[in-house]
Every structure is written in structure tokens, then in C-alpha cells.
């Protein structure tokens, strides 16, 4: 059975110009211990997905209006706020993009790390909490952890703060970790360290990870499966090996092509493949296929009919009438 099952999830926001649907019916599941990547460009609904699972959508203006989120056999959307609090940071935890602002600047690291333990494991004594905190700091490989525990966030570098965030998120050994662009604000060398660390901890604790990122390279490196989102919908999903070897949806293909690559056969002034136009506004989502206006392969049917997710024989899904991969 899947650890997490999301079915036809719709999340809406009220704005001055009317209601926008940030998620337009997304469905996916995550199995225990698996790493799933969620990629797409800004505004495609990646972060809203994670926040919906955590029920962290501010209401108003936001609202989860349709769908189900089944975690561990129970519907998260039907839980009381009290039940939800027992899950957040305990069974499901989250890491945010910005390590500079997601820690409280006026509290010491030890307080912030032990707080989550005090909340979710009240039977631990103070000394035991301290010990777990220290173990976590060692696990995320922070040098001189005893000293760092007594420091404030501003005394730590960006990479170290993100390590502390991971330590806090994993302190209660959650079964699901939602990582929202955990390495975007970091330098590449530090990003590589953090990705390695996350992979190690996954082996160690067995946490399933939903990794949200806009970097396809990161996905290829650490994920088992990937979902590509566009305008609040999943347009393609499947095992990373298949998706990278043989993408079907024109959006996935263009996205992969628009990234410069470091190869020996570089030509000066060579043009990159681009996707023309801009992402349409959520206020007037095109009828039919939402990628239609930017797609080179669109035909009349794409204007009128909304493509459904189609399954292929090798376990991938795509939402397109005219898939461009090899079948």
C-alpha cells in the first residue's frame, strides 16, 4: 500500500480578480522509502502541493476544495487541527527553501531542535532530548556539534542552517519528508553535500521524500520517480530512467533542452532551444491543453479538448494528444 495517496486534489485561492485554481486536480502516490521528484517552473503549483499535504494553506484566501490526501490510511483533509498537529513535524515533516528565514533568529539551535522532540515525544527527559539533538547534529555532519547547539542561526553558514533544518525535520524519524527546494538557495558545492546527506539519511531512517525542485539535474541524481507539473497539473510522470531517456510530453522535452550542458563539443554562439511565450496566467487557463499556446506540435484538438493522463507500457504517464517520444 502506498504511504501517501493524493487523489484529484484541487486547491484554490481567492484573489481580487476571482478564484484561481493553483492545483487543478492532481493525483499521485508515494510508497514508503521512495524519493519522488516534483519539477516545474515558478507558479506551476509545486509548493502549493506540498503545503496542501501539510494542510499549511492559509485559509482565507486559500482552500483545498476537492480531493483526498490519504496518509497512512487516513484522510488528512478530514482530520481535526489537533490530529494534524500530532502529524506535522512528527510523521510528515517539511524543509523549506530558504534556510535564512525558516529558523527563528532569536532562539538558539538547541532550543529549536529540542522543541520538536518535546512536542512529539513528551516521555523523553530533558537529558534524553539533549542527547537526541546532539545525535541529530552529528548525523547531519555539523562540525563541533556541542558548540553549534549553543549558537544562534546567524552564526551559521547557509549550508549549516539547511543541515540544522534537516536535523529538525528528521528528529522524530518521519515516514514522509516534504523538501521544498531544499538546495536552491545554496551554492553547487554545498548543494552536492546536502543532496548526499539526504540520500544517506534516507538509507538510514527509511524516510520517503517528496523533493520539489526546478532543477532536472537534481532530480536525475537523487529521485526514483519524477512528476513534471505545468499550470497546476501533472503533465508527465514515471520512473526517472524512463522519463529522462524517453520523455513524451513536449513540455518535458523542451524543459530538458533549454538547460545548457557542459560538453566537449561546445559551439560559440550556439542557440539554446527555448519555449516560446510565457506561462499563461492562472486567471485564464486556456481551454483544452494548457500547454497549447507554447507547443510546436499542437493541432486543433488541443484547442478544444483537455487531454487526460495516458499510461504507457513502461510505467510512465503523460497528458498529451501528440506525444513526441518514441512509443
Amino acid at each position: 500500500m502506498s504511504l501517501l495517496q493524493v487523489k484529484d486534489l484541487v486547491t484554490e485561492f481567492k484573489t481580487d480578480q476571482g478564484v484561481v485554481r493553483a492545483l487543478r486536480g492532481i493525483s499521485f502516490d508515494i510508497k514508503a522509502g521512495e524519493t519522488v521528484g516534483l519539477v516545474g517552473e515558478s507558479g506551476c503549483g509545486k509548493s502549493v502541493s506540498a503545503r496542501s499535504i501539510m494542510r499549511l494553506i492559509p485559509n482565507p484566501p486559500g482552500k483545498i476544495s476537492e480531493g483526498e490526501i490519504i496518509f497512512d490510511g487516513k484522510d488528512v483533509l478530514k482530520m481535526s487541527e489537533k490530529e494534524m498537529r500530532a502529524i506535522r513535524g512528527n510523521k510528515i515533516s517539511m524543509i523549506f527553501q530558504d534556510p535564512m528565514t525558516s529558523l527563528n533568529p532569536v532562539l538558539r539551535i538547541d532550543y529549536q531542535l529540542e522543541e520538536v522532540l518535546a512536542l512529539h515525544q513528551p516521555n523523553l527527559s530533558k537529558a534524553e532530548r539533549r542527547q537526541v539533538a546532539l545525535d541529530m547534529m552529528k548525523k547531519v555532519k555539523i562540525p563541533s556539534p556541542e558548540q553549534r547547539l549553543r549558537e544562534y542561526p546567524h552564526q551559521l553558514s547557509g549550508g549549516m542552517r539547511q543541515r540544522v533544518m534537516i536535523a529538525i525535520a528528521l528528529a522524530c524519524r518521519p515516514t514522509l519528508l516534504l523538501a521544498d527546494e531544499p538546495t536552491t538557495a545554496l551554492d553547487v558545492t554545498v548543494q552536492a553535500q546536502i543532496l548526499n546527506l539526504m540520500a544517506e539519511l534516507r538509507e538510514d531512517i527509511g524516510t520517503a521524500i517528496l523533493l520539489i525542485t526546478h532543477d532536472l539535474g537534481v532530480v536525475a541524481e537523487v529521485c526514483d520517480r519524477v512528476m513534471v507539473m505545468y499550470l497546476g497539473e501533472v503533465v508527465e510522470s514515471g520512473p526517472v530512467e524512463q522519463i529522462f531517456a524517453n520523455p513524451q510530453h513536449p513540455y518535458t522535452i523542451s524543459l530538458m533542452k533549454s538547460i545548457p550542458k557542459i560538453t566537449a563539443s561546445r559551439k560559440s554562439g550556439e542557440r539554446l532551444d527555448t519555449i516560446r511565450g510565457v506561462v499563461p496566467s492562472l486567471h485564464n487557463v486556456p481551454k483544452g491543453c494548457s500547454f497549447r499556446e507554447r507547443c510546436d506540435f499542437a493541432k486543433e484538438v488541443c484547442d478544444t479538448d483537455h487531454p487526460e493522463l495516458k499510461e504507457t507500457t513502461n510505467g510512465t504517464c503523460y497528458r498529451c494528444f501528440f506525444p513526441q517520444g518514441q512509443s
Partner: protein, 322 residues
């Protein structure tokens, strides 16, 4: 004669503390950088945050006062010119900033933003009609619709704003544009559009670029020559075509290794750097990279390596590379 020649450029920022605001230390942002850009050349400056790449760019554009060193632009030494003496040079040396949200005045329309340099440098001397025509032409060059002319920055997406930023930089027909992380705030598909636009400008107008970025993939794609900076020092400079095979400084190699590869089948053994970049307030002795270098020896802790030539166009600052 090169378009731009920078010799021994140093930029330190004083740290003041205490009752008398005494200078207690310096942030050593740029520590003696030599740089040369030919006409129409695209030079990339790459490094991690805090390595001094933006400071170097802004100092060359004289948005910062250099602490020491020479900046010779088109044969004129501009390193100690006053602000008013700089004005004619600003026309020829423009800058594009990273943040397309913060670098445009939100209270000015696109027309006002783009007309300002044209008036200031007396490129268009006629009336409003002539100005409008010139601005429309600029918008066309950067691939913006003419209807954008009376709009305000908030009406545009990030990519469109960056196009306006580029239009403002090329309005004066500069010879050199310093582009400080021009695509870092953009999504990959928009990033590709802007990179293609910059390439067009090089082809059509012969603009030279000093392209500053933390993204080695982007720099490798766009630039002819790459300079890698670490803690305010240039540690390696080489042609982009050779990056893949001939990069020799351990830091350049580590940067290359750290980039995630978008091929899930390629399982690599990566050589990861440990730790963080040291503070630029207390620079390490000897080689600035020795604290994180996987191959450092005793010698690296004492002697600071200088750039030396490995091959044509390929220089490296490391004791241990042949």
C-alpha cells in the same frame, strides 16, 4: 589594444566598530585580479557566493571605488576618475543587474526608463516623437512588443523585465556590458530566451560581455573564456571549449563535479568538497583554497600560488598542477 584591461585590482571594504567608528578589519573582496577583454569577446566570471565576482564587476563599472589597481578601458585609465569624468565612459560601459524586480524603478514606465539614458548621453536630441521611435526600436531589439512602451515594471513577468534591463544597458550602444547574474532569478525556459537574446546582441552589435554567474553551465554555454574566482582570487582561466577536458585547478574540478548531471543512468563517483568557504575577513595563508583542497600539501599553506601559463589561453594558480 584590449577593450578592457584590469591590472592588480584590489577592493577591500572596511569594517568599522566602536565609539570612534575605527576600522577594525577589512573584508578582502577582490585581491589583485588581472583581466583582459577584447572587443566583442564574451568573458565569464564564475564562482560561489562571496567569492568577489559581483564586487569585481561593480568595481570595474566604477560603482565601487577600487582600493588599488588599474582599470584601463579603451586606452583610458578610469580607476581614479571622478564621477563627472566618468560620465562619457558610462555610455560605453553598461551594466545589467541580477534582480529584474529591484533594478527597474517601479514608478517609471518603460518609456521613461529607456528614454533616460538616451537623453542623458545626448544620443537622441530631437523631441518626444523621436525619443519614442528610438525606444520602440530598442524594445524591438530585445524582443518586446511595441505596446509595452507605456507600461510599468509590475505589469511584466521576470523575463520581460530582464529584457527591459537589457534594453536599458544597450540603449547607449556600449562596447562592454557587465552582466551581473542576469539569468539567475529566471526559470530555465526564460533563461534560455535571455541567453539567446544576449547572443544576438553580440552577433549584431559586437558588444563585449563580462558575464558574471554562479552557474558554470550557463557560463560555459554563453562565454568564450571562463575565469574561475575563489575568495577574491582568480584561480583558473581557460577557453570554454576546454573546460570539460582540461580544467586543472582542484577548485574548478570540484565545481564541475558538484553540478548534478541530468542523466539518471550515469552513476558517478563524485569528489565532494568538505566544509564552507573561509571568511574573506581573515584570508587563509598561502593558497586561498588549501583549507578545502583534496590534494593540498604543506607548501600550499605557506606560499600563495600565482597564475601561470599552462597552455595558450589557459592559466592556473596552483602549485601542484603541471
Amino acid at each position: 589594444m584590449s577593450l578592457l584591461e584590469v591590472k592588480g585590482l584590489v577592493k577591500k571594504f572596511p569594517i568599522r566598530k566602536g565609539f570612534f567608528n575605527r576600522v577594525v578589519a577589512h573584508v578582502n573582496a577582490v585581491n589583485g585580479v588581472d583581466l583582459r577583454i577584447e572587443e566583442g569577446e564574451k568573458v565569464g566570471l564564475v564562482g560561489e557566493s562571496g567569492c568577489g565576482k559581483s564586487t569585481l564587476g561593480k568595481t570595474i563599472a566604477r560603482l565601487w571605488e577600487p582600493t588599488d589597481g588599474e582599470i584601463v578601458f579603451k586606452g583610458n585609465n578610469i580607476s581614479s576618475k571622478s564621477m563627472s569624468e566618468m560620465k562619457p565612459h558610462r555610455k560605453e560601459l553598461q551594466i545589467v543587474f541580477q534582480d529584474p524586480y529591484g533594478s527597474l524603478n517601479p514608478k517609471l514606465t518603460v518609456f521613461q526608463t529607456l528614454a533616460e539614458p538616451l537623453k542623458l548621453h545626448k544620443i537622441v536630441t530631437g523631441g518626444r516623437d523621436e525619443l519614442r521611435k528610438a525606444v520602440e526600436k530598442l524594445l524591438d531589439t530585445v524582443g518586446m512588443p511595441a505596446g509595452a512602451i507605456d507600461k510599468y515594471p509590475h505589469e511584466f513577468s521576470g523575463g520581460q523585465r530582464q529584457r527591459v534591463g537589457v534594453a536599458r544597458a544597450i540603449a547607449t550602444n556600449p562596447d562592454l556590458v557587465i552582466a551581473d547574474e542576469p539569468v539567475s532569478a529566471l526559470d530555465v525556459s526564460v533563461q534560455a530566451q535571455i541567453l539567446n537574446l544576449l547572443d544576438d546582441l553580440v552577433d549584431e552589435q559586437g558588444v563585449a560581455f563580462l558575464f558574471i554567474s554562479h552557474d558554470l553551465k550557463v557560463v560555459h554555454h554563453f562565454c568564450d573564456r571562463i575565469m574561475v574566482m575563489y575568495l577574491g582570487f582568480v584561480v583558473e582561466t581557460l577557453p570554454s571549449d576546454e573546460l570539460h577536458e582540461k580544467a586543472s585547478h582542484p577548485y574548478t574540478k570540484a565545481l564541475l563535479d558538484a553540478i548534478p548531471v541530468d542523466n539518471p543512468l550515469e552513476k558517478r563517483k563524485r569528489n565532494l568538497l568538505e566544509g564552507d568557504v573561509p571568511s574573506p575577513i581573515n584570508l587563509p595563508s598561502g593558497c586561498p583554497f588549501h583549507t578545502r583542497c583534496p590534494i593540498a600539501e604543506d607548501r600550499c599553506k605557506q606560499e600563495r600560488p600565482v597564475l601561470r601559463k599552462l597552455a595558450d589561453g589557459h592559466e592556473v594558480a596552483c602549485h601542484l598542477v603541471d
